[in-house]
Protein backbone atom coordinates (compact mmCIF):
# COMPACT_ATOMS: atom_id res chain seq x y z
CA UNK A 1 0.00 0.00 0.00
CA UNK A 2 2.25 2.70 -1.28
CA UNK A 3 1.41 6.36 -0.94
CA UNK A 4 -0.43 8.08 -3.74
CA UNK A 5 2.10 10.34 -5.31
CA UNK A 6 1.36 13.62 -7.02
CA UNK A 7 3.16 13.80 -10.35
CA UNK A 8 5.47 16.70 -9.50
CA UNK A 9 7.14 14.99 -6.56
CA UNK A 10 10.90 15.19 -6.78
CA UNK A 11 12.91 12.42 -5.13
CA UNK A 12 15.92 13.69 -3.15
CA UNK A 13 16.98 10.79 -0.94
CA UNK A 14 17.54 7.22 -2.13
CA UNK A 15 18.61 4.58 0.36
CA UNK A 16 19.53 1.12 -0.92
CA UNK A 17 20.48 -1.85 1.26
CA UNK A 18 21.91 0.31 4.00
CA UNK A 19 23.67 -1.44 6.86
CA UNK A 20 24.97 0.46 9.88
CA UNK A 21 26.71 -1.10 12.84
CA UNK A 22 28.71 -0.10 15.88
CA UNK A 23 31.58 -2.16 17.24
CA UNK A 24 30.44 -5.18 15.23
CA UNK A 25 26.79 -4.99 16.33
CA UNK A 26 24.52 -4.20 13.41
CA UNK A 27 21.75 -1.66 14.07
CA UNK A 28 20.34 -1.16 10.58
CA UNK A 29 19.99 -4.13 8.24
CA UNK A 30 19.38 -3.90 4.56
CA UNK A 31 17.31 -0.74 4.80
CA UNK A 32 15.64 0.67 1.69
CA UNK A 33 13.78 3.96 1.49
CA UNK A 34 13.03 6.92 -0.73
CA UNK A 35 12.18 10.49 0.24
CA UNK A 36 10.97 13.48 -1.74
CA UNK A 37 11.17 17.22 -1.65
CA UNK A 38 7.99 18.90 -0.48
CA UNK A 39 7.02 15.76 1.38
CA UNK A 40 7.08 15.27 5.10
CA UNK A 41 8.02 11.72 6.05
CA UNK A 42 7.65 10.51 9.62
CA UNK A 43 9.66 7.57 10.91
CA UNK A 44 7.87 5.55 13.59
CA UNK A 45 9.01 2.58 15.61
CA UNK A 46 9.87 1.29 19.04
CA UNK A 47 12.89 2.52 20.93
CA UNK A 48 15.94 0.72 19.63
CA UNK A 49 14.47 0.08 16.21
CA UNK A 50 17.19 2.17 14.59
CA UNK A 51 15.28 5.40 13.87
CA UNK A 52 17.93 7.76 15.21
CA UNK A 53 20.76 5.77 13.69
CA UNK A 54 19.00 6.04 10.35
CA UNK A 55 18.74 9.83 10.60
CA UNK A 56 22.38 10.06 11.62
CA UNK A 57 23.37 7.97 8.61
CA UNK A 58 21.97 10.70 6.39
CA UNK A 59 24.37 13.37 7.66
CA UNK A 60 27.13 10.91 8.55
CA UNK A 61 26.86 11.75 12.22
CA UNK A 62 27.24 8.08 13.14
CA UNK A 63 30.92 8.59 12.46
CA UNK A 64 31.14 10.67 15.64
CA UNK A 65 30.74 7.41 17.56
CA UNK A 66 33.54 4.91 17.97
CA UNK A 67 33.80 1.97 15.58
CA UNK A 68 30.85 2.79 13.39
CA UNK A 69 30.60 1.02 10.04
CA UNK A 70 28.25 1.86 7.18
CA UNK A 71 27.62 -0.21 4.06
CA UNK A 72 25.23 0.15 1.15
CA UNK A 73 24.26 3.09 -0.96
CA UNK A 74 22.90 6.38 0.29
CA UNK A 75 22.30 8.92 -2.44
CA UNK A 76 21.22 12.48 -1.85
CA UNK A 77 20.26 15.02 -4.45
CA UNK A 78 22.04 18.17 -3.36
CA UNK A 79 22.20 21.26 -5.57
CA UNK A 80 20.41 19.29 -8.24
CA UNK A 81 23.11 16.67 -8.37
CA UNK A 82 22.95 13.09 -7.12
CA UNK A 83 25.82 11.92 -4.99
CA UNK A 84 26.49 8.90 -2.84
CA UNK A 85 27.53 10.57 0.41
CA UNK A 86 29.66 7.61 1.51
CA UNK A 87 31.56 7.38 -1.78
CA UNK A 88 32.12 10.58 -3.73
CA UNK A 89 31.32 12.65 -0.72
CA UNK A 90 31.52 16.38 -0.32
CA UNK A 91 33.48 17.60 2.72
CA UNK A 92 31.69 16.66 5.95
CA UNK A 93 30.99 20.23 7.14
CA UNK A 94 29.45 21.01 3.75
CA UNK A 95 27.29 17.87 3.84
CA UNK A 96 26.11 18.54 7.37
CA UNK A 97 25.22 22.11 6.52
CA UNK A 98 23.06 20.94 3.61
CA UNK A 99 21.54 18.11 5.62
CA UNK A 100 20.56 19.89 8.82
CA UNK A 101 19.50 18.20 12.02
CA UNK A 102 17.45 19.05 15.10
CA UNK A 103 17.76 16.92 18.22
CA UNK A 104 15.31 15.78 20.89
CA UNK A 105 16.41 18.46 23.30
CA UNK A 106 17.48 21.90 22.15
CA UNK A 107 21.25 22.19 21.87
CA UNK A 108 22.19 25.82 22.27
CA UNK A 109 25.53 27.38 21.51
CA UNK A 110 27.11 29.61 24.13
CA UNK A 111 26.01 33.22 23.98
CA UNK A 112 22.94 35.21 23.05
CA UNK A 113 19.97 34.43 20.84
CA UNK A 114 21.62 36.32 17.98
CA UNK A 115 24.98 34.60 18.59
CA UNK A 116 23.32 31.23 18.20
CA UNK A 117 22.42 32.08 14.62
CA UNK A 118 25.31 34.34 13.76
CA UNK A 119 28.12 31.98 14.77
CA UNK A 120 27.30 29.09 12.40
CA UNK A 121 26.39 31.51 9.63
CA UNK A 122 29.78 33.15 10.01
CA UNK A 123 31.86 30.00 10.54
CA UNK A 124 30.18 27.46 8.31
CA UNK A 125 28.72 29.61 5.57
CA UNK A 126 31.35 32.36 5.63
CA UNK A 127 28.77 35.13 5.35
CA UNK A 128 30.42 38.56 5.67
CA UNK A 129 29.75 40.43 8.89
CA UNK A 130 27.55 43.12 7.34
CA UNK A 131 25.07 40.56 5.98
CA UNK A 132 24.74 38.53 9.14
CA UNK A 133 22.07 40.62 10.89
CA UNK A 134 19.65 40.44 7.98
CA UNK A 135 20.15 36.71 7.70
CA UNK A 136 19.52 36.27 11.41
CA UNK A 137 16.29 38.17 11.07
CA UNK A 138 15.25 36.17 8.02
CA UNK A 139 15.90 32.85 9.77
CA UNK A 140 14.02 33.89 12.89
CA UNK A 141 11.07 34.94 10.73
CA UNK A 142 11.19 31.59 8.99
CA UNK A 143 11.06 29.82 12.35
CA UNK A 144 8.12 31.98 13.52
CA UNK A 145 10.27 33.30 16.32
CA UNK A 146 11.10 36.84 15.24
CA UNK A 147 8.13 38.55 16.92
CA UNK A 148 8.87 36.83 20.21
CA UNK A 149 12.59 37.66 20.36
CA UNK A 150 13.18 40.76 18.26
CA UNK A 151 13.44 42.95 21.36
CA UNK A 152 15.92 40.75 23.16
CA UNK A 153 18.26 39.37 20.54
CA UNK A 154 21.20 39.91 22.86
CA UNK A 155 19.67 38.07 25.80
CA UNK A 156 21.25 34.73 26.69
CA UNK A 157 19.70 32.01 24.56
CA UNK A 158 18.99 29.82 27.56
CA UNK A 159 16.47 32.37 28.85
CA UNK A 160 14.06 31.24 26.12
CA UNK A 161 11.38 28.67 26.90
CA UNK A 162 11.90 25.08 25.75
CA UNK A 163 9.65 25.48 22.72
CA UNK A 164 11.34 28.74 21.74
CA UNK A 165 14.75 27.13 22.13
CA UNK A 166 13.73 24.32 19.82
CA UNK A 167 12.48 26.82 17.24
CA UNK A 168 15.74 28.73 17.67
CA UNK A 169 17.56 25.50 16.75
CA UNK A 170 15.35 25.22 13.68
CA UNK A 171 16.04 28.85 12.79
CA UNK A 172 19.76 28.18 13.15
CA UNK A 173 19.39 25.27 10.78
CA UNK A 174 17.43 27.26 8.19
CA UNK A 175 19.96 30.08 8.30
CA UNK A 176 22.52 27.63 6.88
CA UNK A 177 20.38 27.07 3.75
CA UNK A 178 19.88 23.32 4.08
CA UNK A 179 18.06 21.19 1.54
CA UNK A 180 17.16 18.26 3.74
CA UNK A 181 15.93 18.55 7.34
CA UNK A 182 16.39 15.69 9.79
CA UNK A 183 14.32 16.00 12.94
CA UNK A 184 14.95 13.56 15.76
CA UNK A 185 11.79 13.71 17.88
CA UNK A 186 11.88 17.50 17.79
CA UNK A 187 8.93 17.87 20.16
CA UNK A 188 9.88 15.15 22.66
CA UNK A 189 10.96 17.64 25.32
CA UNK A 190 8.09 20.08 24.80
CA UNK A 191 4.61 20.44 26.23
CA UNK A 192 1.63 20.01 23.97
CA UNK A 193 1.13 23.68 23.09
CA UNK A 194 4.81 24.26 22.28
CA UNK A 195 4.84 21.02 20.28
CA UNK A 196 1.89 22.21 18.20
CA UNK A 197 3.76 25.39 17.36
CA UNK A 198 6.75 23.42 16.14
CA UNK A 199 4.44 21.17 14.11
CA UNK A 200 2.81 24.20 12.53
CA UNK A 201 6.22 25.48 11.62
CA UNK A 202 7.21 22.17 10.04
CA UNK A 203 4.08 22.10 7.93
CA UNK A 204 4.83 25.60 6.66
CA UNK A 205 8.37 24.54 5.73
CA UNK A 206 7.69 21.25 4.01
CA UNK A 207 6.98 22.72 0.57
CA UNK A 208 10.59 23.79 0.14
CA UNK A 209 12.53 21.06 1.90
CA UNK A 210 12.81 17.34 2.20
CA UNK A 211 11.80 16.67 5.81
CA UNK A 212 12.37 13.40 7.61
CA UNK A 213 11.13 13.38 11.21
CA UNK A 214 11.41 10.69 13.82
CA UNK A 215 8.44 10.61 16.15
CA UNK A 216 7.22 8.67 19.12
CA UNK A 217 3.72 9.94 18.79
CA UNK A 218 1.20 8.37 16.51
CA UNK A 219 -1.14 11.33 16.75
CA UNK A 220 1.70 13.61 15.74
CA UNK A 221 2.40 11.40 12.75
CA UNK A 222 -1.27 11.63 11.77
CA UNK A 223 -1.16 15.41 11.97
CA UNK A 224 2.09 15.81 10.07
CA UNK A 225 2.96 12.94 7.83
CA UNK A 226 2.53 12.68 4.09
CA UNK A 227 4.00 9.27 4.54
CA UNK A 228 5.03 7.16 7.53
CA UNK A 229 7.77 4.56 7.65
CA UNK A 230 7.50 1.92 10.31
CA UNK A 231 10.84 0.66 11.61
CA UNK A 232 11.36 -2.65 13.32
CA UNK A 233 14.74 -4.15 14.24
CA UNK A 234 16.67 -1.90 11.92
CA UNK A 235 14.63 -2.10 8.74
CA UNK A 236 11.49 -0.59 7.26
CA UNK A 237 8.64 -3.04 7.70
CA UNK A 238 5.77 -0.90 6.47
CA UNK A 239 5.05 2.27 4.54
CA UNK A 240 1.82 4.12 5.12
CA UNK A 241 0.29 6.93 3.10
CA UNK A 242 -1.53 9.86 4.62
CA UNK A 243 -4.85 8.09 3.95
CA UNK A 244 -3.64 4.90 5.57
CA UNK A 245 -2.72 6.83 8.67
CA UNK A 246 -6.21 8.26 9.01
CA UNK A 247 -7.95 4.89 8.59
CA UNK A 248 -9.05 3.47 11.97
CA UNK A 249 -8.19 -0.16 11.28
CA UNK A 250 -4.62 0.56 10.15
CA UNK A 251 -4.29 2.65 13.23
CA UNK A 252 -5.22 -0.25 15.48
CA UNK A 253 -2.67 -2.47 13.80
CA UNK A 254 -0.09 0.27 14.06
CA UNK A 255 -0.68 0.81 17.75
CA UNK A 256 0.05 -2.85 18.36
CA UNK A 257 3.09 -2.75 16.12
CA UNK A 258 4.71 0.26 17.74
CA UNK A 259 3.61 0.35 21.33
Amino acid sequence: MGPKKPVDLEPTVLVKSLHVGFAGREVLHNLNAKFNRGWLAVVLGRSGSGKTTFLRALNRLNECFPRSATRGSLKLKLQGEWRDIYRNAMPLPELRRRVGMVFQTPHLLPGSIADNLALPVKLVLGVPRRNIASRVEWALEEAHLWDEVKDRLNAPAHTLSGGQQQRLCLARLLALEPEILLLDEPTASLDFRAALKVEELLLSLKERYTIIAVSHSLSQARRLADEALIFRDGSVVQRLSREDLQAPDTLQALLEEIF
Binding site: P93, L95, L108
Partner: protein
Protein backbone atom coordinates in the same frame (compact mmCIF):
# COMPACT_ATOMS: atom_id res chain seq x y z
CA UNK B 1 7.74 1.30 58.51
CA UNK B 2 6.28 4.21 56.64
CA UNK B 3 3.88 2.06 54.67
CA UNK B 4 2.67 0.22 57.76
CA UNK B 5 1.93 3.51 59.42
CA UNK B 6 0.00 4.72 56.44
CA UNK B 7 -1.97 1.53 56.28
CA UNK B 8 -3.20 1.52 59.89
CA UNK B 9 -4.71 4.99 60.33
CA UNK B 10 -4.08 8.50 59.04
CA UNK B 11 -3.14 9.81 62.48
CA UNK B 12 -0.46 7.15 63.04
CA UNK B 13 0.74 7.63 59.49
CA UNK B 14 1.25 11.27 60.26
CA UNK B 15 3.17 10.66 63.46
CA UNK B 16 5.33 8.04 61.78
CA UNK B 17 6.02 10.46 58.96
CA UNK B 18 6.88 13.21 61.42
CA UNK B 19 9.25 10.91 63.28
CA UNK B 20 10.86 10.05 59.97
CA UNK B 21 11.30 13.73 59.10
CA UNK B 22 12.75 14.45 62.53
CA UNK B 23 15.20 11.63 61.95
CA UNK B 24 16.15 13.09 58.55
CA UNK B 25 16.47 16.52 60.12
CA UNK B 26 18.81 15.22 62.80
CA UNK B 27 20.91 13.40 60.25
CA UNK B 28 21.06 16.47 58.05
CA UNK B 29 22.13 18.72 60.88
CA UNK B 30 24.76 16.13 61.84
CA UNK B 31 26.19 16.26 58.32
CA UNK B 32 26.01 20.05 58.34
CA UNK B 33 27.93 20.14 61.62
CA UNK B 34 30.60 17.84 60.24
CA UNK B 35 31.05 19.98 57.13
CA UNK B 36 31.10 23.15 59.21
CA UNK B 37 33.81 21.61 61.39
CA UNK B 38 35.90 20.70 58.35
CA UNK B 39 35.47 24.22 56.96
CA UNK B 40 36.47 25.86 60.22
CA UNK B 41 39.48 23.56 60.51
CA UNK B 42 40.80 24.32 57.03
CA UNK B 43 40.13 28.06 57.20
CA UNK B 44 41.59 28.07 60.69
CA UNK B 45 44.79 26.41 59.51
CA UNK B 46 45.26 28.99 56.79
CA UNK B 47 44.62 31.84 59.22
CA UNK B 48 46.97 30.20 61.74
CA UNK B 49 49.75 30.11 59.13
CA UNK B 50 49.12 33.77 58.35
CA UNK B 51 49.13 34.63 62.09
CA UNK B 52 52.27 32.60 62.72
CA UNK B 53 54.10 34.25 59.83
CA UNK B 54 52.98 37.71 60.89
CA UNK B 55 53.98 37.09 64.51
CA UNK B 56 57.49 36.03 63.58
CA UNK B 57 57.81 38.78 61.01
CA UNK B 58 56.68 41.33 63.60
CA UNK B 59 60.20 42.17 64.91
CA UNK B 60 61.03 43.34 61.38
CA UNK B 61 58.42 46.05 61.75
CA UNK B 62 58.85 46.81 65.44
CA UNK B 63 62.66 46.95 65.32
CA UNK B 64 62.58 49.01 62.17
CA UNK B 65 64.30 46.49 59.90
CA UNK B 66 61.65 46.75 57.23
CA UNK B 67 63.60 49.09 54.95
CA UNK B 68 66.68 46.86 55.27
CA UNK B 69 64.76 43.74 54.30
CA UNK B 70 62.82 45.37 51.49
CA UNK B 71 66.00 46.42 49.70
CA UNK B 72 67.89 45.20 46.68
CA UNK B 73 71.04 43.77 48.23
CA UNK B 74 71.65 40.47 50.02
CA UNK B 75 75.09 40.51 51.68
CA UNK B 76 74.55 39.03 55.12
CA UNK B 77 78.18 39.42 56.19
CA UNK B 78 78.00 43.14 55.50
CA UNK B 79 74.68 43.38 57.27
CA UNK B 80 72.60 43.73 54.13
CA UNK B 81 69.51 41.58 54.16
CA UNK B 82 67.47 42.70 51.15
CA UNK B 83 65.04 40.10 49.75
CA UNK B 84 63.62 42.04 46.82
CA UNK B 85 65.89 40.24 44.31
CA UNK B 86 64.36 36.97 45.50
CA UNK B 87 60.84 38.36 45.11
CA UNK B 88 61.71 39.35 41.56
CA UNK B 89 63.26 35.93 41.01
CA UNK B 90 60.14 34.11 42.23
CA UNK B 91 57.81 36.15 40.08
CA UNK B 92 59.95 35.97 36.95
CA UNK B 93 60.34 32.23 37.30
CA UNK B 94 56.64 31.59 37.91
CA UNK B 95 55.57 33.84 35.04
CA UNK B 96 58.00 32.36 32.52
CA UNK B 97 57.21 28.78 33.57
CA UNK B 98 53.51 29.55 33.10
CA UNK B 99 54.31 31.25 29.81
CA UNK B 100 55.70 27.96 28.55
CA UNK B 101 53.40 25.49 30.30
CA UNK B 102 50.01 27.15 29.83
CA UNK B 103 50.00 27.41 26.01
CA UNK B 104 51.58 23.96 25.84
CA UNK B 105 48.88 22.58 28.15
CA UNK B 106 46.09 24.15 26.11
CA UNK B 107 47.68 22.74 22.97
CA UNK B 108 47.78 19.25 24.44
CA UNK B 109 44.13 19.52 25.49
CA UNK B 110 43.17 20.73 22.03
CA UNK B 111 45.05 17.82 20.52
CA UNK B 112 43.22 15.38 22.78
CA UNK B 113 39.83 16.97 22.05
CA UNK B 114 39.45 16.73 18.34
CA UNK B 115 42.52 18.33 16.76
CA UNK B 116 44.66 15.20 16.91
CA UNK B 117 43.89 11.62 15.88
CA UNK B 118 41.52 9.90 18.29
CA UNK B 119 43.84 6.94 18.79
CA UNK B 120 46.56 9.12 20.35
CA UNK B 121 44.30 10.62 23.00
CA UNK B 122 44.57 7.66 25.38
CA UNK B 123 48.36 7.32 25.36
CA UNK B 124 48.79 11.09 25.63
CA UNK B 125 46.56 11.44 28.67
CA UNK B 126 48.19 8.35 30.14
CA UNK B 127 51.56 10.02 29.84
CA UNK B 128 50.26 13.21 31.48
CA UNK B 129 48.77 11.19 34.33
CA UNK B 130 52.07 9.42 34.75
CA UNK B 131 53.84 12.78 34.95
CA UNK B 132 51.81 13.74 38.02
CA UNK B 133 53.20 10.76 39.88
CA UNK B 134 56.84 11.71 39.36
CA UNK B 135 58.32 13.33 42.49
CA UNK B 136 59.44 16.90 41.91
CA UNK B 137 63.00 16.13 42.93
CA UNK B 138 63.30 13.76 39.96
CA UNK B 139 62.53 16.63 37.59
CA UNK B 140 65.27 18.65 39.28
CA UNK B 141 67.69 15.77 39.24
CA UNK B 142 67.15 14.94 35.56
CA UNK B 143 67.41 18.62 34.74
CA UNK B 144 70.79 18.86 36.48
CA UNK B 145 72.04 15.89 34.46
CA UNK B 146 70.61 16.79 31.02
CA UNK B 147 69.32 20.33 30.75
CA UNK B 148 72.05 22.17 32.68
CA UNK B 149 74.90 20.87 30.44
CA UNK B 150 72.72 21.51 27.40
CA UNK B 151 72.19 25.16 28.33
CA UNK B 152 75.85 25.52 29.25
CA UNK B 153 76.83 24.06 25.89
CA UNK B 154 74.47 26.28 23.93
CA UNK B 155 75.41 29.45 25.83
CA UNK B 156 79.04 29.22 26.98
CA UNK B 157 78.75 32.48 28.96
CA UNK B 158 76.25 30.77 31.29
CA UNK B 159 76.95 28.14 33.94
CA UNK B 160 73.79 26.35 32.93
CA UNK B 161 72.25 26.95 36.35
CA UNK B 162 69.94 29.69 35.22
CA UNK B 163 66.50 31.21 35.08
CA UNK B 164 66.00 29.55 31.67
CA UNK B 165 66.86 26.08 32.96
CA UNK B 166 64.62 26.44 35.99
CA UNK B 167 61.73 27.85 33.94
CA UNK B 168 61.84 24.95 31.45
CA UNK B 169 62.04 22.34 34.20
CA UNK B 170 59.31 23.97 36.23
CA UNK B 171 57.03 24.22 33.21
CA UNK B 172 57.23 20.43 32.82
CA UNK B 173 56.38 20.04 36.49
CA UNK B 174 53.22 22.20 36.33
CA UNK B 175 52.13 20.96 32.90
CA UNK B 176 50.09 17.98 34.17
CA UNK B 177 48.21 20.18 36.64
CA UNK B 178 47.13 22.49 33.84
CA UNK B 179 46.32 19.71 31.37
CA UNK B 180 44.30 17.62 33.80
CA UNK B 181 42.17 20.55 34.96
CA UNK B 182 41.44 21.81 31.47
CA UNK B 183 40.90 18.28 30.17
CA UNK B 184 38.38 17.46 32.90
CA UNK B 185 36.39 20.56 32.08
CA UNK B 186 36.55 20.01 28.32
CA UNK B 187 35.41 16.44 28.74
CA UNK B 188 32.32 17.59 30.59
CA UNK B 189 31.53 20.17 27.90
CA UNK B 190 32.42 17.81 25.06
CA UNK B 191 29.70 15.34 25.95
CA UNK B 192 27.11 18.10 25.79
CA UNK B 193 28.03 19.82 22.55
CA UNK B 194 29.96 17.44 20.32
CA UNK B 195 27.09 15.97 18.29
CA UNK B 196 25.15 19.19 17.96
CA UNK B 197 28.06 21.24 16.73
CA UNK B 198 29.20 18.50 14.37
CA UNK B 199 25.67 18.43 12.99
CA UNK B 200 25.90 22.18 12.32
CA UNK B 201 28.94 21.55 10.15
CA UNK B 202 31.56 22.86 12.59
CA UNK B 203 35.01 21.39 12.21
CA UNK B 204 36.64 20.04 15.38
CA UNK B 205 38.83 23.14 15.57
CA UNK B 206 35.81 25.45 15.27
CA UNK B 207 33.94 23.46 17.91
CA UNK B 208 36.89 23.72 20.25
CA UNK B 209 37.45 27.43 19.72
CA UNK B 210 33.92 28.76 19.49
CA UNK B 211 31.76 26.34 21.42
CA UNK B 212 33.86 24.52 23.99
CA UNK B 213 36.23 27.35 24.96
CA UNK B 214 33.48 29.71 26.13
CA UNK B 215 31.74 26.89 27.99
CA UNK B 216 34.95 25.71 29.63
CA UNK B 217 36.22 29.09 30.78
CA UNK B 218 35.96 28.13 34.45
CA UNK B 219 38.36 25.27 33.94
CA UNK B 220 40.71 27.52 31.99
CA UNK B 221 40.83 30.04 34.85
CA UNK B 222 41.21 27.37 37.49
CA UNK B 223 44.10 25.81 35.58
CA UNK B 224 45.80 29.21 35.33
CA UNK B 225 45.47 29.89 39.06
CA UNK B 226 46.60 26.48 40.18
CA UNK B 227 49.44 26.29 37.68
CA UNK B 228 50.75 29.68 38.73
CA UNK B 229 50.45 28.87 42.43
CA UNK B 230 52.35 25.62 41.96
CA UNK B 231 55.06 27.41 40.00
CA UNK B 232 55.36 30.09 42.64
CA UNK B 233 55.40 27.63 45.50
CA UNK B 234 57.89 25.17 44.06
CA UNK B 235 61.16 25.02 46.00
CA UNK B 236 63.20 22.06 44.98
CA UNK B 237 63.54 22.74 41.25
CA UNK B 238 64.49 26.38 41.79
CA UNK B 239 66.94 25.32 44.48
CA UNK B 240 68.56 22.67 42.30
CA UNK B 241 68.86 24.38 38.90
CA UNK B 242 68.27 28.14 39.17
CA UNK B 243 71.73 28.83 40.57
CA UNK B 244 70.55 30.69 43.69
CA UNK B 245 72.52 33.90 43.15
CA UNK B 246 70.63 36.65 45.03
CA UNK B 247 70.41 39.10 42.14
CA UNK B 248 67.92 40.67 39.81
CA UNK B 249 68.43 38.82 36.52
CA UNK B 250 69.39 40.72 33.38
CA UNK B 251 68.78 37.85 31.03
CA UNK B 252 67.27 34.38 30.94
CA UNK B 253 70.78 32.97 31.29
CA UNK B 254 71.42 34.65 34.64
CA UNK B 255 71.31 32.73 37.85
CA UNK B 256 68.38 33.62 40.14
CA UNK B 257 67.20 32.86 43.65
CA UNK B 258 63.51 32.47 44.48
CA UNK B 259 61.86 33.31 47.79
CA UNK B 260 61.16 29.63 48.36
CA UNK B 261 64.73 28.49 47.84
CA UNK B 262 65.87 31.50 49.90
CA UNK B 263 63.82 30.21 52.81
CA UNK B 264 65.24 26.72 52.36
CA UNK B 265 68.83 27.99 52.15
CA UNK B 266 68.60 30.27 55.19
CA UNK B 267 66.80 27.73 57.37
CA UNK B 268 69.51 25.21 56.54
CA UNK B 269 72.40 27.47 57.54
CA UNK B 270 71.35 30.11 60.04
CA UNK B 271 68.86 30.52 62.80
CA UNK B 272 69.86 33.56 64.80
CA UNK B 273 70.67 36.62 62.77
CA UNK B 274 68.50 39.05 60.92
CA UNK B 275 68.87 36.73 57.94
CA UNK B 276 66.55 34.42 59.78
CA UNK B 277 63.97 37.15 60.11
CA UNK B 278 64.08 37.72 56.38
CA UNK B 279 62.60 34.30 55.72
CA UNK B 280 59.41 35.24 57.53
CA UNK B 281 59.12 38.29 55.35
CA UNK B 282 59.69 36.01 52.34
CA UNK B 283 56.97 33.69 53.54
CA UNK B 284 54.63 36.60 54.00
CA UNK B 285 55.30 37.88 50.49
CA UNK B 286 54.69 34.44 48.97
CA UNK B 287 51.50 34.08 50.94
CA UNK B 288 50.35 37.54 49.90
CA UNK B 289 51.09 37.00 46.20
CA UNK B 290 49.26 33.67 46.20
CA UNK B 291 46.19 35.21 47.78
CA UNK B 292 46.32 38.21 45.45
CA UNK B 293 46.49 36.00 42.36
CA UNK B 294 43.61 33.89 43.61
CA UNK B 295 41.42 36.86 44.40
CA UNK B 296 42.19 38.69 41.16
CA UNK B 297 41.38 35.69 39.02
CA UNK B 298 38.28 34.97 41.04
CA UNK B 299 37.08 38.50 40.41
CA UNK B 300 37.87 38.23 36.69
CA UNK B 301 36.07 34.92 36.60
CA UNK B 302 32.90 36.20 38.19
CA UNK B 303 32.93 39.19 35.88
CA UNK B 304 33.37 36.88 32.90
CA UNK B 305 30.49 34.77 34.18
CA UNK B 306 28.02 37.65 33.97
CA UNK B 307 27.49 37.76 30.19
CA UNK B 308 25.73 34.83 28.64
CA UNK B 309 27.66 31.64 28.98
CA UNK B 310 25.14 29.41 27.33
CA UNK B 311 24.38 27.06 30.18
CA UNK B 312 21.40 25.12 29.02
CA UNK B 313 20.67 22.50 31.58
Amino acid sequence: MLIQGQASSPRTAETVLQAHWRHLDRRQSGIKGLLLGATILSCGSVLAILGFLSYFALPIFSEGHLAEILSWEWRPFQGKFGILPMAVGSLSLAVTAMGVAYPLGLGICGFAHGLGPRCLKGPLMGLINFMTSIPTVIYGFVSVIFLVPLVRGAFPESTGYSWLTAALTLSLMILPTIVLLVHAQLQQVDARVRLASAALGFSPAQTLLWVMRPLAFRGLWAAAVLGFSRALGDTIIALMVAGNAPQVPNSLLDSIRTLTSHIALVVATDSTSQAYQSIFASGLILFGVSIAVNLTLRRLQSRAALPATGRHD
